[in-house]
């Protein structure tokens, strides 16, 4: 269970979105090139006669290439882990931004929908426009204004609409005293109706 997915009383999960797959490919480009590089380089030198053709059969080459491949696989797995753990969760009460910056650097921003002030979508570049992904920014109202940004979100307009729609419901419920959390507390008797 994702720690951020523990719902509050009366709260329901509406959607979970991860970054667009293109961003993973973009990040994975360097290790993929690194993975092939020694094979291409040695292949070139063997082909041009600088290195002997028997090099590929030698134990030294098998050891070196295996260590190199394992390092590249570990590097790719780190990028994959950072990719799959980045997500934006929309619930009936909150928007939760989860960003796995590095393996041991995790950032979670929670914005309560009744505090949401402004939702912006930004699509920049040809590829982002063609593949339909962009950045989503949610800004809060109040003395301590907070800005949460999620880059590379697929179909950001749909998520924006969902947030705005749910925020309107949330504000209305709050104004009428029917907010799910308030209703739960009233039922529990911790506050008066």
């Amino acid at each position: 269970m994702i720690p951020e997915l523990r719902m509050r009383p009366g709260e329901q999960r509406l959607s979970i979105s991860r970054k667009h797959w293109f961003l993973f490919l973009q990040e994975a480009f360097s290790p993929l090139i690194a993975l092939l590089l020694p094979f291409l380089a040695v292949g070139f030198f063997v082909g041009s006669g600088i290195l002997p053709g028997t090099l590929f059969e030698s134990s030294f080459w098998v050891l070196f290439s295996s260590v190199w491949l394992l390092s590249c696989i570990a590097w790719l797995s780190t990028i994959w882990t950072n990719y799959i753990l980045d997500m934006i969760i929309v619930t009936t009460q909150r928007v939760i931004f989860v960003q796995q910056r590095l393996l041991f650097h995790r950032e979670v921003i929670t914005i309560h929908l009744e505090n949401e002030q402004n939702v912006t979508v930004e699509t920049e570049g040809i590829i982002a426009t063609l593949l339909g992904f962009g950045a989503l920014r949610v800004e809060t109202a109040g003395a301590l204004t907070e800005l949460a940004v999620f880059d590379g979100l697929p179909h950001p307009e749909q998520v924006k609409e969902q947030i705005l729609k749910q925020a309107a419901v949330c504000v209305k419920e709050h104004a009428e005293g029917r907010h799910p959390l308030l209703a739960h507390k009233i039922r529990q008797g911790s506050i008066e109706a």
Binding site: M1, I2, P3, L5, S59, F60, V62, L63, S66, V67, L69, L70, I73, A74, S77, T78, W80, T81, I84, L85, V98, Q100, L103, R106
Partner: protein, 63 residues
């Protein structure tokens, strides 16, 4: 030479396994789905063991 080869093989594999545990901890702790954990761990483990056997075979052929 076989001793050096064995040292490199086992050292690399120990580090690879340790790093695999760190990654698996993240996948489980931060809630990737079962399918993602299965595929990620499967790919990592299969490629690791395949290369370990290649390295062991190379180390043995040193002698």
């Amino acid at each position: 030479m076989p001793t050096l080869g064995l040292f490199i093989t086992l050292g690399t594999f120990a580090l690879y396994c340790l790093y695999g545990c760190v990654l698996a901890y993240h996948w489980v702790r931060y809630g990737a789905s079962f399918r993602i954990i299965f595929l990620s761990f499967g790919t990592y483990a299969v490629s690791g063991f395949y290369l370990l056997f290649a390295m062991l075979a190379a180390t043995i052929s040193f002698s």
